[in-house]
Amino acid sequence: MSKILIRGARILGGEPQDVLIDGETIEAVGTGLSAEGAEVVEAAGKVLLPGLVDLHTHLREPGREDSETVLTGTRAAASGGYTAVFAMANTFPVADTAGVVEQVYRLGREHGYCDVQPIGAVTVGLEGKKLAELGAMHDSAAGVTVFSDDGKCVDDAVIMRRALEYVKAFGGVVAQHAQEPRLTEGAQMNEGIVSAELGLGGWPAVAEESIIARDVLLAEHVGSRVHICHLSTAGSVEIVRWAKSRGIDVTAEVTPHHLLLTDELVRTYNPVYKVNPPLRTEADVHALRQALADGTIDIVATDHAPHPHEDKDCEWAAAAMGMVGLETALSVVQETMVETGLLDWAQVADRMSVAPARIGQAAGHGRPVSAGEPANLTLVDTAYRGSVDPAGFASRSRNTPYEGRELPGRVTHTWLRGKATLVDGKLT
């Protein structure tokens, strides 16, 4: 593999420097590096970040290849600046055995756009009744370390306790989709002023918060670590903050859409805004941004959830929940966190690369941009402004809530172990 010189990039938003890649590794970082024998990428004014890591992606393969495949999903990831994604287990069949996780892992490696780290189901068939073979999935070629029934909550306290305990044997972590099922029967949107007017079934904040409270206490009791998926309420933030202050080993994620959108949008009855957990209120959005800034929330994870057109081109109640997010995540974070002064680019690198790689134990990802490190890198044109056009998505699905919205920033280049997956905004 030949050499690449990235010239004049602002590493983590700092002063312009050159980065020389040789093969799969960063060879040197400095000013005035020789371009001899290297392909030059002019990066003046652009921000260079470690390749982004998404701890929460739905790639849909196997089973729902009409909405996404490992190939289209990883191309979307590369397009959004990601070099590693964690693929959720709610496929058909469910990723609850070594066989399924190995298949997904291998597909990611073969396509070569983005590392795919499968997440294993906590319980067989996501049914919440019987533990899946967590150890076997960990011992498989996929080396699963993160387990989640995402889409469903592990609501049985005993099963949750056992899972938290069991994965300690091999350093795994359980990622909880916090949703008390009885409190959310028939739920269609956030329960509050807007749901009362629209006559849509309410998804109360307490259904999320009560499970988080229970799970951090369980984690404390059994001495395990727990990860909370897609926090969406101000109350959840308070509970996680309290848990961390007690020394409980909890980490938490927030999605880009919960940092930007509110339930007021549901007034359009357009199912593109239908997502689980639901869009909340302005006050929640504010609390989530603050929590991401102060570190209470550790990471941004996309919850990229592709759905075919017909699952959204219908009345609200019949529509599927979820939004695609890989290709807009960094722009939304720039809009909501950077341009508001809540995070600088070094902190963005932490929330979107370093910390998720650490939580998910993604080796070689989320590393410093320095000599000797794997060349997993993302180059961002932060001055760019443009409106979102789903027709240009690499994802097979188009269910974005941002269509036509102007967002800042654009990923122009992505390198996965020195190999360019995205060049000048075009997939290789």
Binding site: E191, G199, E315
Partner: protein
């Protein structure tokens, strides 16, 4: 008035009064030997009912036929057409047949709004009840009934319901009738109080333009109209209230309670009534109960709405009378 009628909240005070006044004229047609007007001749209206509701469908059908529209009834019972694709496909299929308006009843809140705004069809959309969201023609016929009884048939013309105190009792949480009535009655200047057990009042009700009370007996003496909502027995199973007996003791309207209402006050019910639950037979059959009138008024209101939406080259935009030269 807009091209569609989706929510009672979309109506201005003048729009609403225009509809009520127009309905008053439509009501006179019922007294004629020939109960028919040529107004919508050549217009095709489809009644697209995804939920069973014989009463509402028949009321719309009568209104449409009295205005000489061509009527197509489409009743999509069962689950095979309850999916999203089917709403879009069904609507597009019907429009391909040359439909000018779609009157839709659907179990999903927002389905008529989707139909009107998604670009699926061009026809005007009239909401005949969607999920637990809205039922605007019901609110209009209720307001019409109240104006006739509390203001007067002739003296009411051009008038709203300023200062009238309306109490709505029962399962507000699951009621599109309650939502529509709160919106419309507020627009028309009435003071609305909702009375229900706290379990049957939605979280977020504090943003509604009305009062909420848990004490029916305290509110009754201060009511000009008391509207009883249907309470389905199956709500008991979801722990909204303990027993039928306890519900009717606390929130049902019986003769003793009716006696505490002012002389002139009326009892309303959107039907169908669950006798013995929210209302006793004594009250339901009394001459203060307007249930039967409401049904008759429903036809007049729906005629008025259809005329104002479809009677011209564009919907009636304001109360102002169009003028022309001679």
């Amino acid at each position: 008035m807009q091209r569609h009628l989706i929510s009672a909240a979309d109506l201005s005070r003048d729009d609403a009064v225009l509809i009520l006044d127009t309905a008053e004229e439509m009501a006179r047609v019922a007294d004629r030997p020939i109960k028919k007007l040529p107004t919508l001749r050549g217009r095709t209206i489809v009644n697209l009912f995804f939920e069973d509701s014989t009463r509402t469908r028949i009321s719309f059908e009568a209104a449409e036929k009295r205005l000489s529209a061509d009527v197509i009834n489409f009743t999509a019972k069962g689950s095979s057409v309850s999916k999203g694709e089917s709403l879009k496909d069904t609507a597009q299929t019907l429009e391909a047949m040359g439909v000018d308006a779609v009157v839709i009843r659907h179990g999903a809140s927002g389905a008529p709004y989707r139909l009107a705004t998604s670009g699926w069809i061009d026809a005007a959309v009239v909401n005949a009840g969607d999920g637990t969201h809205q039922h605007p023609t019901q609110a209009l016929l209720d307001a019409f009934t109240m104006r006739r009884r509390l203001v007067g048939r002739d003296t009411g013309l051009g008038q709203d319901l300023s200062g009238k105190r309306v109490t709505i009792v029962g399962d507000v949480l699951h009621s599109r009738v309650a939502r529509s009535n709160v919106d419309l009655l507020h627009t028309l200047g009435a003071e609305v109080t909702l009375v229900a057990p706290p379990t049957l009042v939605p979280v977020g009700v504090e943003s509604w333009p009305c009062e909420v009370s848990y004490d029916l007996d305290a509110v009754l003496p201060k009511s000009d109209a008391v509207m009883m909502l249907r309470v389905q027995r199956e709500r008991m199973n979801a722990a909204f209230f303990p027993t039928e007996r306890e519900y009717s003791r606390r929130y049902g309207l019986d003769g003793d309670r009716m006696a505490r209402m002012p002389e002139h006050a009326i009892v309303m019910h959107p039907g169908p009534m669950v006798r013995g639950m929210e209302i006793t037979a004594e009250v339901a059959d009394s001459d203060r109960c307007t249930v039967v009138e409401q049904v008759a008024n429903g036809v007049s209101i729906r005629m008025a709405v259809l005329y104002l939406l479809l009677g011209g080259n564009e919907p009636a935009v304001s109360h102002a009378r169009t003028t022309e030269e001679k």
